[in-house]
Subunit: 191 residues, 2 copies
């Protein structure tokens, strides 16, 4: 939790009361590889800040195929914001791809922090704005880049991730088949 | 501008001073069809709230092909948030697809509103959170739905847009060729 407080403090001052509140609505937890933190179809009442490890959020379509929305590594937030914002059950499953330590927040209490502690607003706003810009960029990349170019960008963004992800995790994030991913890797190794 | 003030007021109280500030940093403008409000490669210092009409944000790739990120219709915000957030020149072009009336904001001044008027934070936070959820959904749709299903969703979201968009506007938003879009339309009309 100290890590997160430090991160928030780097962009703004937090009163001791606000820090105390953050502590009171959160819990540091370590989950083993394979643990499911949010399950598609169920209620969502947690938001996770990743301290260590790697998580993945994905949905399973009608035909049973998985589609990866996000990987959550150190200092990233992960949850199902579609469900939280639209007050519906989870669209996504969030699982640990390796043993992971997170700060688990009660989603409702975290979203209610702003009335007693408006000082938390600028940090949250900055986070959301950065996230919007990166989602815009991802959509543009998906539209305009080749799969090989998207794979290169992916490796830049997550340099060590291939150690603990399976091929279909990455393929389903890039929106390509595992066979295409294999071909891209072969081509890349030839260079 | 009254329309926007009303919209903000529906989610929270605004002081007369905050309203006055919003007026002071904005200007209602009408642009003809084809007008370019933001040009890829140039500086971005405006954010637009759409009162009437339709705008489109897109980028042109190395081969000259256009890729549509967003359509801006009534009550939507449009700008180049990648450029604004990363302090770089425009990745996108924003143009009017028909005569459009917007409220034009000075981006820096709008982003500085929160210090003197923190009451503006909840409205902005809600907007960003809704936008994040819809971008997550769009990425998942792009990964898991067929082009025909994405086209159906597009028509639900923008029911009247085909009156003033060209085929390549829609195809480049859906990430498909114009030929695919034509085939989907033919199939749809058969049903």
């Amino acid at each position: 939790m100290k890590e997160l407080i430090k991160k928030i403090r780097s962009s703004q001052a937090l009163s001791p009361e606000a820090e105390e509140y953050l502590f009171s609505i959160s819990k540091k937890k370590t989950f083993p590889k394979g643990a499911v933190l949010i399950q598609q179809g169920q209620n969502v009442n947690k938001i996770y800040f990743v301290l260590e490890g790697c998580l993945r959020s994905y949905c399973i379509d009608k035909s049973g195929k998985e589609h990866t929305l996000q990987f959550g590594i150190m200092n990233w937030w992960i949850s199902d914001y579609i469900a939280i914002h639209n007050h519906k059950s989870a669209t996504l499953t969030v699982e640990c791809l390796k043993e992971s330590t997170v700060i688990e927040f009660d989603a409702k209490k975290l979203n209610s922090i702003f009335v007693p502690f408006p000082e938390y607003e600028p940090f949250h706003r900055n986070l959301l704005e950065r996230h919007v810009a990166s989602l815009h960029q991802r959509i543009l990349n998906q539209l305009q880049l080749t799969a090989a170019e998207r794979y290169d960008l992916f490796l830049e963004q997550y340099p060590d991730i291939e150690q603990f992800t399976r091929n279909y995790h990455i393929a389903s994030y890039l929106g390509i088949t595992q066979e295409s991913l294999s071909r891209i890797r072969v081509e890349k190794n030839k260079k």
